[in-house]
Structure formats: structure tokens, C-alpha cells
Symmetry: D2
């Protein structure tokens, strides 16, 4: 950490800050510049609450040098993490771009089974579907709960697809983990630290969605919570951020893919459905995500989007999904990967 003193700070103020820094177990180097004096604090500063120093008289600002995440970073683990999806062991984070698909909410057993077969035939390896739905409005459909989990398990039985479903509260973790192969943490819960710890304390892989206005640092710190609690199988998922843009529901920021790959060993997939909010954008943005290096995609597919009970306007039909998969294969090959 670098502490920058104000231009008119006194010798006493400098000494006070040096003392404060050393109380934290760090050693100090003082550099007298042309316009400013700075103190370089040396040591492992991740555990220190740096703002204390910022408040001291004579301090202009402090500048952290180390990123605050550790076990999620490449510094600690160079080789890429490949997360295995049960029941068939397809890996996310390897050469193959994996596709997870399915309806926004689980609504009906036979419909779910039908769609599971369709996406499986089109090349997907995972089945997504919400049993517990977090909805902005209390008047919206909230999901089938336990019943939905059972249907998802039936679909896995029949198709071999890995089941991915959201868990919204600590109390549900155990129950959802009985049915699901991957536990999803939704964007709204990315900083629900109790829940992060709870999914970190069980062994099933976790699909962690980026919060609606999370920085990359906060995103990786959320992964850090899960890994720290004992579960290294974290799949990151970009799903768009909130900006002023009006033509899309969220602004999908694909440049986070190379950014994450530069600093972290965790795989990253993209959700073009929530990341755009419009069915017509899913295909171009899916192709773009793969071209940019994404390790996978999670896409909403519904047999009859017009009558879907949640988010109908942004779900693909099975035939549009199949068409997308054909194009994905070609783009993946063009960047030396496969689907």
C-alpha cells in the first residue's frame, strides 16, 4: 500500500502515519518527492482495513497495491480450474465451450422433459430452470419450489443433463443440493455473504452470477468467500450490468472475459438472455461471447415463450436454440475450441 501525504502535511503527521502503518505489522519506506511525500508500506496488506490511515490528519489518499482477492487469483493457482458437471463429467473451463439451457422457471413436468430432450439433442450439457424465483415484484410468479426440483431431477434421469438451479436462501441449500448438480447464486445474491458461505460448505459446484453493479473485484471476492469456505468449484457468470442504456435490459460487458482470464484461474461463462433482455440479441451475443473466449453459455429456452410464466420476452424457442447451436459450433472452431 502507498500512503500519499498532502502537500502541507507536517513532520508530526508523517510520523503518526508511519506509526499507524507499523502497528499494522507493515514496514515503511518514506519517499520525499517534488510535490508530495509518500510512504510505501510493505507486507501482506490484504488483512488490513486500510481506511483507518486515510482518516489520519495529513493524509491525502492511500493506494492499494495488491488485489484484495487471493485464492481466486492466478497468483495462488496458475493453472485454469476446470469444473466437472455431473452426471457425465463434462468440464467447464477446458477446450470445449459448454452450453446450459432451459426455461426461466420450471412450470410443468411434461413441458420440462420435452425441452430437456430438445436441448440435449441440440448439444447442451446442462439443464437450467428456476424452482425458487427471486422476482422484483411480489405480484410476479415465484416458482414451483420443491415440485420444480423434482421435475428437474426427473429430466436429468431421462437425459443425463446436469441440473443447474438457483438457491435463494441459506435454509434451502441442503435441499436444493439434493436435487441439483450445480447451485446457482443469482445476481441479487452475489453479496449475500451468508449464502456464499453456505454453498461453499457443501461440495456441489456453484455457478456465481455477477451482481447487477458489481465490480470485477467484488465479483472475485464473492468467489473468494465460496472457495474460502471449502468449495473450489466456482463457475463465474457474466450477465450484464446496469447502465443508462435504454435499448437493452442490461449492458452485457464481454470484455470482462479477458479481464478475468488475466487475473483469475476460474472459468467464466456468459448469460446472453439476462445480459440483453431481448430474444433477438441472444444469437449475436452468444456468438460474440464465444469469440471473446467464454468457457460456456447459459441460455433460456422455452417451448412457448409467449405463454411463459416469467420473462417470456427474452426466451428462445427450441428451434431458434438449435439454429444458434449450429452457428456456435462454427464460431468455436474459428477460435480453436469446440462446442
Amino acid at each position: 500500500m502507498i500512503v500519499v501525504m498532502t502537500p502541507h502535511s507536517t513532520k508530526e503527521q508523517l510520523e503518526h502515519v508511519v506509526k499507524l502503518v507499523e502497528e499494522m505489522g507493515l514496514s515503511t519506506h518514506i519517499i520525499h518527492g517534488t510535490n508530495r511525500t509518500v510512504i510505501a508500506a510493505v507486507g501482506d496488506k490484504r488483512m488490513v482495513d486500510k481506511t483507518a490511515i486515510e482518516y489520519s490528519p495529513g493524509v491525502e489518499k492511500i493506494v492499494p497495491i495488491l488485489s484484495p482477492y487471493k485464492v481466486a487469483s492466478k497468483e495462488v493457482k496458475q493453472e485454469k480450474t476446470v469444473v466437472k458437471l455431473q452426471p457425465h463429467g463434462s468440464g467447464i473451463g477446458g477446450k470445449t465451450v459448454q452450453v446450459i439451457a432451459g426455461p426461466c422457471s420450471v412450470e410443468d413436468r411434461s413441458q420440462l422433459l420435452e425441452i430437456a430432450h430438445q436441448i440435449k439433442d441440440a448439444g447442451a450439457v446442462g439443464l437450467r430452470g428456476g424452482a425458487f424465483k427471486p422476482r422484483s415484484s411480489p405480484y410476479s410468479f415465484q416458482g414451483l419450489a420443491e415440485k420444480g426440483l423434482e421435475y428437474l431431477a426427473d429430466a436429468r434421469e431421462q437425459t443425463g443433463l446436469a441440473v443447474v438451479t438457483e438457491v435463494v436462501t441459506v435454509n434451502h441449500v441442503e435441499r436444493v443440493a439434493q436435487y441439483a448438480d450445480v447451485l446457482q447464486i443469482g445476481a441479487r445474491n452475489m453479496q449475500n455473504f451468508m449464502l456464499l458461505r453456505a454453498v461453499g460448505e457443501q461440495p456441489k459446484p456453484v455457478l456465481l452470477k455477477r451482481g447487477m453493479c458489481a465490480t470485477m473485484e467484488e465479483f472475485l471476492l464473492a468467489a473468494e468467500y465460496i472457495i474460502n469456505a471449502g468449495n473450489p468449484n466456482v463457475i463465474l457468470c457474466e450477465r450484464g450490468i446496469r447502465t443508462y442504456e435504454e435499448y437493452c435490459r442490461n449492458t452485457l460487458t464481454l470484455s470482462i472475459i479477458p479481464a478475468i482470464q488475466r487475473v483469475s484461474h476460474l472459468p467464466i461463462i456468459v448469460d446472453p438472455t439476462h445480459g440483453t433482455g431481448h430474444a433477438y440479441m441472444i444469437e449475436p451475443m452468444s456468438l460474440a461471447a464465444v469469440a471473446a473466449g467464454a468457457d460456456g453459455l447459459i441460455i433460456e429456452v422455452h417451448p412457448d415463450p409467449e405463454h411463459a410464466l416469467s420473462d417470456p420476452g427474452q426466451q428462445l424457442t427450441p428451434s431458434l436454440f438449435q439454429q444458434l447451436m449450429h452457428k456456435l459450433v462454427r464460431v468455436a472452431q474459428a477460435v480453436d475450441r469446440k462446442v
Copy 2:
């Protein structure tokens, strides 16, 4: 709701949409404009998932007419809600601007008692302090938990201040409600709908912080969850939003005060501490909040900010807080209120 058809939509497409709208229990009026045909759908549309129609062929966009919140709105209740704070019954939402103060985290019993007396003497009516702290990094101080709640209750005993503390998970609601007078829902949990429902099902008032990138509509829908679950005593709290601005930790948007007051009957207070992230901004922004019509303030005060265990850089000392209270009294009078 208004459905706008594309310029080249067909008669069949129009009829299909009309049918879809009517299936929702709404009646339709068709208006043929110069460039567009629009369908006005009449009825109470809050319960309808409007995006289904958006997906239909020939539809350009749909435009909601009603706001999605209801019980939080002035349409349902014109007179302003005044939330009573126990033990002494001071009301938030009336003529008096109420001030809640205290340390970011509860750290130490005697320190907490001391500060409680100081803020009480300065004119505060509530004592805030975190016992369970949601922190971005797993390496930061996470709070004293139950011990912290006990200290807070002791401080209330001695001072008569209402205790305001955060609840971070459904499992804690009952326990926290035993000690606290007001349950705080933090910004990160504004859309933790399970938690909203849980605090809605108990009787203590709820201080609901605005999410870091919540729209006003989402903020009021979160309040709607609580009220719908049975608890009408919701205090809204603006605490800054995330923007690109670099000179502050969050961008405090005071214009939400008149905006909320125009559409909702709920009281709204301001948190200038998290809303700016810098101790030197707390005074001017507190005065501004009161001038803009805020019903109260919640401010972090710590006897020794330099050595605080969380967020030291943004907490006021008791003497700066006292000085602020003197100025607040004057500004409140200038806008015909009192502190």
C-alpha cells in the same frame, strides 16, 4: 398498458395480440395512428407479466401505464406514514427530522455506552451499530454477532435511544427482533426477497436501504414486499448509488427525496456516511438532505475513527457530530421543520 405495433405489422398479428391481451382479462381499444397502430389495454395490469406480449410477432414495444407498486403508493394511501420508534415513540415521517447515529460496527461494550450517551446528548433519537456485518471481503471484520446485540440493548436501557441494527439472513430475524427496535435491511439485501418477507412478518419497524443500483421503482417494490407481508412500518433510506464518479464511494442522489414524496406515503431518510464515503462530506450532505426534505438521517459516529474496526475513514467523531447537530437545527428551522 399500451401495445405499439411495428409499421409493417399485419392484420393477423394485430388480432393475435388483441386476443393475447384479452386472455389476460383486459379490454382493448385499437387506435390507428399515422405511422403506427397502438392497442390500449384497459384494466388493472399490475398482476400481468407484460413481456409475453412484447414477444409476439408484429409488436414493437409495450408501454406500462401504471407503476408496479401499489400499497407503497399514494394512490392507495394519501396521508404520510409516520413510523414510531420505540422505546420513546419519536415518529419518523412527521415534522421533526430524526437523527440516528452510532458506530459502523459494535466493537466494545463500554465504548458503545459512551457513544450512546454522547449522541443522545447531541440530540439523536436512535442508536445504530452493526452486530452482523456484511463485508465485501471475507478477510474483513464480520461483527460481534449476539454479543453486539446485547450491548446495543444495554445502551438502549441506559439512554432510551431506539436501537437500529442490520439483519442479514432470515434465520436471524427473530433473534435480532428481540433486541432491536428497528430492523435494518442493508443495500446488498434490498432484493433478498425471502428476507424482505421475513421482516414483513414481524411487527418491528424496518429501515430499508436502497440497493446500490436500484431504481426508485425497485426500491418501492422492495417496500411493497414488506408491507404486503403484513408490516406497514417501513422507513426508506437513500444511501447513494454506484456511478462512474471517482471522488466519492457512492453518488448520493438527494433528488430521490422529492421523487419518493410525490408517489409514496413512506418516510425517507438519508445516510450521508455510506452515501459519500468520506467524513469531510457528511456535514454538507446532511444539511443538504434536510434542506431537500428528508425525514431523518442515519450517521456513523465513532469515538476513535482511526482505530475503528470497519469503515474508519468515513465515521465522524462525537464532537464533529455535535457540531453537525447544531447546524442541522438551523437548517431544519429554515425549512419549517425541527430536529
Copy 3:
């Protein structure tokens, strides 16, 4: 346009608004809903300043139905615009993805010629280079001015590449147009309406960069200014927007590509250099842009980025550029286009 009245608006207020709307030359339809009365105003409303009505007593809000741009929209012209680049007539907006490359600033004649040959050999059709540089700080390098334009013209002479360079003020338009084949309007000038009109009144194509926080609507309205002034040859360029994200200089939003293509006939290219601000992100984001359907790319290439006089950290070396072009060819083929 739809005018929504407040729940308690009076009959007189309604009549007043109807009168106001009709004074604008629009006809009105009144619809009495369950909770609201709305007025549908029919006619071509693009020319009307709608906010007048918003202010009238009893009005809750107004909702525009038509987009405010016209000649830039597909409603007026269905077939895609292909902008020809001189001297060789390559078209932007057709099947071929066109690449424009070159240094941020023109710095030196022989260096520019060298790089022009290199990018030409790698497959580029246009040469970019700033002669007049708009810089945030008055202390930064401001460009070679006229001298820079001459060097660019020399490079075209030798390579046949179309010259693309920025014009920053009305007074320079004529002079820059003598040298350049395409006039670039920078992001900071996207709403410099005098300048838009000036480049609209001359015949050379215009590359219009999206403003740093422009909406899609404002972006197309800026194009509308140019087309309205007489010049239909507008190339749109996405170059990232400002958000809270900290890992990139700007947030590149590729979903604007399908969004623009849905409503406008204008070609759209992508600037991954400014759109990310980091050299290591240029390749993945270029590939992603082409996969998403971009009509071209504009990329900064410098023979010695470390010693470049402007934006060194985000320029590619010629060999990295060549490598990128090889990959672009493959991705373009995968989406049935070529480079």
C-alpha cells in the same frame, strides 16, 4: 404519443390537455381505464416539443410512441446503406468486414508510411491517424495538425488506403476534407451540432463515434443531423461507454450492433482500442465484434507502442495486428462474412 393523466385529475384538466395536443396539430382519442385516463395523440409527433404537455396540471407522464430519428431509421429506408471508401471503393456495410488501422496520432512521416504498408499487407482498407487530437489535459500532445494531414495523404498515395482522420472544429472541415477520405467525428463531439452540420454539408463519408454516454437514440439523432444536412454516408462507430467498471477504460457494448441493425440502415463498426483501453483486450473484443455482426473495425496500431506520443498503452504492434487479422478471417467466415 400517449398522455397519462393522474388518478385524481379533473375533467377541466383533461379538456385543457386535449386542447393543447390539438393545438399541436394532432388528433386525440380518450381512453378511460380502470385507474387512469389516457389520451392517445395521433399524427406525426417528431416535430413537437412534447414536454409542454408534461407540465400541464393533471398530467402524470407522457409516453412517446415514435422514435425521434427519421432519416436514419429503417422506416424511411429499408435496405442497408453501404458507404464507399475512396480511393478504391471498398464498401462498409456489405458482406465484407472492413478494417481500418493506424496510429493514435500521426507523429513522423517515415514511421507513418511504414505502418501504412504493414497494415495494408495485413489486409486493412483504411488508414487512421490523428492530426488534430482532442486531449483531456492541456499538457498532452495535441497532434501535428496540417503536417499530419500531408503525411496521411502521402501514405494513401503510396498504399491506396483510404485516409480516416478526425475533424475537431467547423473551421477545419474544409481543410481536413481536402486530405481525408473519411472525416471522423470523435466521441467528445458527437453532440457538437455545428460540426455535425458542417460535415453534413460536404460530400466525404463521415465516421461518427458514439459519445461517451450517448444513448442509442442520441447516437442516431447525431447521424440524423449529418444526413439532414445533405450527407447520407454515415458510418456509426461504437467505442465504449462510461460506466463504473474499473478494469477497462470504457465499457464496450456490443449489443448495440444488433440493436442498431434492427432500427437503422446505417453500417456500424467497432473501435476495440478506445472501447477497452488495454492492448490485451483488443484481439478478443475484435473477434467478438465481428461475431456479433459488426461491419468493420477501427484499431490502433503503432510500430513502437512504448514510445508513442499518445495512448501508448492501448496500441497494438504491427505483428500483433497481423496475427489478429488472421483470426478475424476465420471468425468472419464462421458467420458467413469475409475480411
Copy 4:
């Protein structure tokens, strides 16, 4: 400036960067930390294009220590700048909060004179009004041009109010300066550097509006352009930034007032009209701005907002303005200032 090396950087890379830094005329201090090696570069770094170093192999990031603005900063000039408004010499930046008011556009001579008298009587010291209007749509009213300037000069003659009007292009600077007492640079031109220099080369004070998504640093750098060109009389004006918020046209960020006052000697005023976009928010946000320490306000007032030719929905009537001025007097007193 601090250069942070990557964890696995080599000795050669370190030496290379040290050489690069020293070529810039800076001296270096190398600090070997636990996890990172950092280089502290000492000297006046404002003139250096730091990104060159960022690109060097082995560099993780660079951290600037000095702010990039100089003459706009308190380091160079401690005492506050007070800008005198002619013809009567009222100062902006002193103890009195100055109010500038008037219509969005100048539309009609007698109407302008009437409103000038009204705002003068209510206590304003400046008259604003647009003669050249930058409008997002080419179909909107663009102003009366020269005629508008003459009417403004007439109004000054009759009332003694200082005339504040916008200049939109370099070519108009001389002409507008003949009529106006203060030249306004609009938000869209905050980074029109040619224009900044042009208004810096003439002696009339400049009211510089913050760009729609400008950082504080960019805002002060824009002021720096003007001061550097020879004109120290710059009045900063906060007018809201673009965010995702939907209840207002812009998000007014009052916390920039204390932030600017901490680092710069320039006066800062607030535009609550554009800063909110809604007439009903002007009063609370004006009071809040003064409570937060603003040196003045610029407010749109129109005798008949419903029929105004531009931005009718956000202009106050003269009687609402008068009422606001009464309240402003009280709030100003409460913070030891006057109106």
C-alpha cells in the same frame, strides 16, 4: 507515480522500466515488497504520458500520485477565486449565494424584458437565456441567434442584470462576448477543447458546465484549459450526470460541491433545472445545493412554461421562482451565507 511490477517480472524487465522512467526525467526508488516490487518515480509527472510504462513487459499497473490539473488546484492558489459579474460587480465565490435566472431560450423581446424585471425584483443578479441552442434533435427549436443576443443586451440595459448566454462554436465567441457578461460553455462542449481555448483567450468570465458524464478530474482539466489560455475567471457549474436513474433527467450530485472545494479554488454553482429535469424538484434541490455550500444557482424561469419553445416541462413560473427565493434566503442564513 508508482509503478507496480507483476509478481513474476524479471530483473531485466525491472531495469527496462527504470530506464524508461528515467528517460522521462524522473528519478526512481525501488521497493521490494513481500508480493510485489514497486518503483516510485519522483519528479513533476503532470507532463508525462504515463501509459507508455503501463505497456512495458512486467508492469502490472501504474498509479498516479499527483492530480493532472494544476492551475485549477488549491496547491497553486490557496485563496478562493471570486468571479465578478458585470455590470454591477456582484461576486460569485464570496459570502453571497448568487442566483442567475431566465428562460431556457430567448423567444420574444417583450417577454424577456418582463421576465428580467421579475427575476431582478425577486433577487437574481444574472439573466440567463439561450440565443444559440444545442439540441439533441435537428427538429427542435434552435434559438434566435443574434436577435436573441440583442434582446439580452436590452434586458441588461433596463435591469442591470449580468447576461449569461451560451457559446457553441469558436466562430461565435467574439460576437457573443460583445453582448454577454458571462460566456456559458454547455455540458456537451465541456471537452470541446478548441472552444475552451477560445473562451480562455478573451476576458469575459466563463460559466463552465460539467459534461454529462465527466469525472471531477476532467471537469477541472476543462477549467485548466481556459485558465491556461489566459482567463482565470471560471465558474464551475454542476448540472447532473447521466446514470441509470429513471425518475429524473439527470442525477444531480451535490457531493461534488465539497469535493471541488477541497481541491480547487474555483467557485461552483448548481443548475437544478437540467440537474433534475422536473419543475417540482427545483425548489428542494436548490435549497439543498445552498445547504451543501454552493456559491450560486442558475435556474430556468419562463412566464408561460406550457408554451415555452424549449424544455417547457422543467421551467419555473416567475411566482414559483419568487417563492423559492424567499426560502433560499432562509436556508442561506442557516449556513451563515446570504442571497
